[in-house]
């Protein structure tokens, strides 16, 4: 069957890193990813099923991998060769339409008793992602045994599958996984009902996070940075009170929080640091610059939630120490405790949000697998090409019907 496969190949990895540094997404042409004729994955046991993807999204972490920019941290947590793709809406053999919750936790690895995190419902924090009946892999799309969404079919544990209601289109359903990340990030802020939140970045993650913030904290003030006009307009439409250019963040947060400013030079009116700042900052970029910005606009004892996948960064941590700022990660999802004390699965919350906020509008373009280089380049330059989410469309692949 047709699949995009990522093999361990150091020279190609280096070539991808070089190519990707010139043109984002260009690593697809020279790197370790190839369109191959792969075998259908074997099902590890009776709790697994074959899923035939309908739409399969391309996310920032996929692009980092393809351009050779992902951290070496993941090396022991994945197994090669793998088929990427974890934002999936697909069909089961019986025709049921499902979305994939891609984390490969203890349940899917048939580990009993499960780790503490899985017991607590924090699936994303599973401690045993390198153990159990399947090879290492933090998610579907990074494990050599399961296959991934960028193919005609892959294997998924039944606990990973969520049936999709008839009313939800494929375009909406494929947005549930990234939206779950945004829901988890928004709820991780622990923000007071009338607090202030700054969201850095208005790509897919930033936009779904803004939408989640507005949904769960209707009275908080949300400031978003957005590089491109369409991002600005979507950020405002999804609930941001203010959307500004990234280089305006310090002044804008100062205004929103009524802080005073501190100038590093004798130029009194410059805004280099704030005396106060935002109660919480959600960094959906994950670069040295964005984390540095986050540190400069978070109030003392405020919280930075890192959603965008960082790699090696170079940051000055003195403000973190001096202002007693919390820097926490927000990786994937699991279960969430809501303001009323109830507990819900993040994916269920995300499905509701995708529907109510009409997040299907964030899917900008789809490509067949055969045009994977175009798709990946489009995804990597989505912002300046006026796009948000790019996905592979497998609905018209002929092989699909032969399985």
């Amino acid at each position: 069957m047709k699949a995009l496969e990522f093999r361990r190949n150091i020279p190609r990895y280096a070539a991808a890193r070089l190519a990707g540094s010139f043109t984002p997404g260009r690593g697809s042409g020279v790197g370790p990813i190839r369109l191959v004729d792969a075998d259908l994955p074997e099902l590890p046991n009776q709790d697994w099923e074959i899923v035939r993807p309908r739409l399969s999204g391309i996310c920032g972490s996929d692009l980092a991998t393809i351009d050779g920019k992902s951290a070496r941290y993941f090396e022991p947590l994945v197994s090669f060769p793998f088929i990427p793709g974890h934002e999936v809406v697909g069909d089961l053999q019986d025709g049921t339409r499902v979305v994939l919750e891609p984390v490969l936790g203890c349940l899917s690895r048939n580990i009993d008793p499960p780790c503490k995190s899985c017991q607590d419902g924090q699936l994303g924090n599973c401690e045993y992602v390198t153990f159990g009946e399947i090879s290492p892999g933090i998610q579907t799309g990074s494990c050599c045994d399961t296959g991934g969404g960028w193919s005609i079919a892959f294997a998924a544990h039944t606990s990973q599958l969520h049936p999709v209601g008839k009313d939800l289109s494929d375009e909406a359903a494929v947005m549930i996984e990234p939206t779950a990340c945004g829901v988890h990030a928004a709820l991780s802020t622990g923000i007071e009902p009338e607090g202030t939140v700054t969201v850095i970045g208005s790509g897919t993650l930033g936009l779904v996070t803004i939408s989640a913030l507005r949904s769960y904290f209707p009275d908080v003030k949300i400031l978003a940075t957005a590089r491109y006009p369409h991002q600005k307009s979507l950020a405002l439409d999804l609930g941001a009170d203010v959307a500004i250019a990234p280089n305006e963040i310090k002044r804008a947060v100062r205004r929103m929080t009524k802080s005073r400013a501190i100038s590093l030079s004798t130029e009194d009116g410059n805004v280099d640091r704030l005396t106060g700042g935002s109660d919480a900052v959600i960094d959906c970029v994950g670069s040295s610059e964005s984390i540095t910005d986050a540190l400069s606009v978070t109030r003392p004892r405020g919280k930075i939630v890192l959603v965008g996948m960082p790699s090696s960064v170079n940051i000055e941590l003195t403000p973190l120490w001096h202002r007693e700022i919390q820097l926490v990660g927000a990786y994937t999802y699991g279960t969430e405790k809501l303001a009323d004390g109830s507990v819900a699965r993040t994916f269920d919350l995300a499905a509701d949000l995708v529907d109510s906020a009409k997040l299907d509008r964030l899917l900008s373009a789809v490509y067949p697998l055969s045009r994977y280089q175009d798709a990946l380049e489009h995804a990597a330059s989505a912002g300046h090409r006026g796009a948000v989410k790019i996905a592979f469309d497998l609905r018209s692949e002929k092989e699909r019907d032969l399985l």
Binding site: V242, A245, A252, D268, G269
Partner: protein, 538 residues
Amino acid sequence: MKNEKNLAPRPGFVLDVDRTSPPVLFHHGDTFKLEKLPAGRSRVIYPPEPLEGLRDPDSAIRHALENPIGDSEPLSALLRPDMKLTIAFDDISLPLPPMRRPDIRQRIIEAVLDLAAEAGVDDVHLIAALAIHRRMTEDELRHAVGDRVYDAFAPSGRLYNHDAEDPEGMVVLGETPHGEDVQFSRRAAESDLVVYVNINLVSMDGGHKSTATGLSGYTGLRHHHNVHTMRNSTSFMDQENSELHASNWRMGKVIRDAGVKIFQIETTVNNNTFGRSGPLAVLQKREWEWSARDRASFVAMQKGLDVMPSSARRQIFNSWEAPYEMTSVQAGEVEAVHKITTENVYKQQIVEVEGQTDILTMGLPYISPYNVNSVMNPILVMCLGLGYFFNMYRGKPLVREGGVVIMSHPTPWEFHSVHHPSYIDFFEQVLADTTDPIEIERKYEKQFAEDEWYIHLYRNSYAYHGVHPFYMWYWGSHALEHLGRVIIVGGDSSAVQRLGFQSASTLPDALEMASDVVGPQPTITHMKNPPIFLADVK
């Protein structure tokens, strides 16, 4: 030889452009352009030549102090040993550009202090009446009042900048019948006599505005520095038709009724902005009268400026001090004094113009009232063009309703962070949202006016008050309502777009874009300003 000081100065002039007319000099920030205007339908308004200055300004000042106008005793008769005397004076925004030493304020303040000393007055304070403008630096104060006065008063804290945000230093004297709060400097309010020293560069300056605005703060200013007032001031240079003027006059009456005694001293200067001779003299000559030497000096200047970085050009122009000469001085009761001052301003500046035009062009210079020793940011470009230049009329605006203004200025996306911190935020936040003055006033003014950081910088650094950029925008609100389109030639296109205007790279392009609004073969009028003139449009 024409234009020499000993010949009678010529009045203003309206040139009808024909095929033989030479290109017209346009100011373009800190550079210049020579532009050819379409023949047969263009005209250029030239300011009157500089009037003769007073031969002995110091004697004229002493004479004015002892021979007051209106219901006032001579200054010497108002002074007594046990009194509290406050001398307030215009700030850095006047005159433009700053004048050569000795500044008129120095001459007058020295004369007033001589009389005060003779009368044995000990309790004297000098206040730069800057309202919510930025504080003046020591150098700027020294330039205005002279070293002798500065050294005698500043070290002991008796010469200082007005602080409109000092809760202890400000007082509300009452309310006008229109419900306008009259906020005033407490020191001035509690003084036995306030002497106000004016330089009346344009007809809007002086009168009750000197104290009602200059010694006030946001509580008072908001009643007339607003969109409604500015749209009902047609123009604010024409006292008879200015709601700004009327509001200040109402406030002046409240000040007077509260028992504040004001001895008003007003002065006028001539149009000698760039000198009758010297490196910039060519800028105030009419192009068809340029000599070969003038042409050579202009070309050399232009070439030199072209190769300089903008910071160097700015430094050169900021160091220019105008050789203004005082043409009149009058003192005494506020309204009586101001009436004569206004006549003297008109004597220098009025140019009669027949009818309106479809397109008004203007070359904006490097300076406005709010960027002395600073940066002309995009908001100030708007204010200078649509606030000041557009409003330099009596009768009717120079450009017809629905017409087009074309301004020439580089309009860089650049700000002086010390002087204009709230301008940066206004540009980034407010103008990114809307350029509608009413909406801006409703949605954002309070936030900026009450921002603690801006207030801190206004009081302790050299920043314009947080609300000041709003007033700049309101200043242009009459023009924004009147015009069909505004085009900036040679500006930074992002900055121009943020202002809500259209950007053109050349004047011919701008004229073509304007014809979309006003139709083909439109009439064009160019304001050759500076030097300043006031169009009396019939």
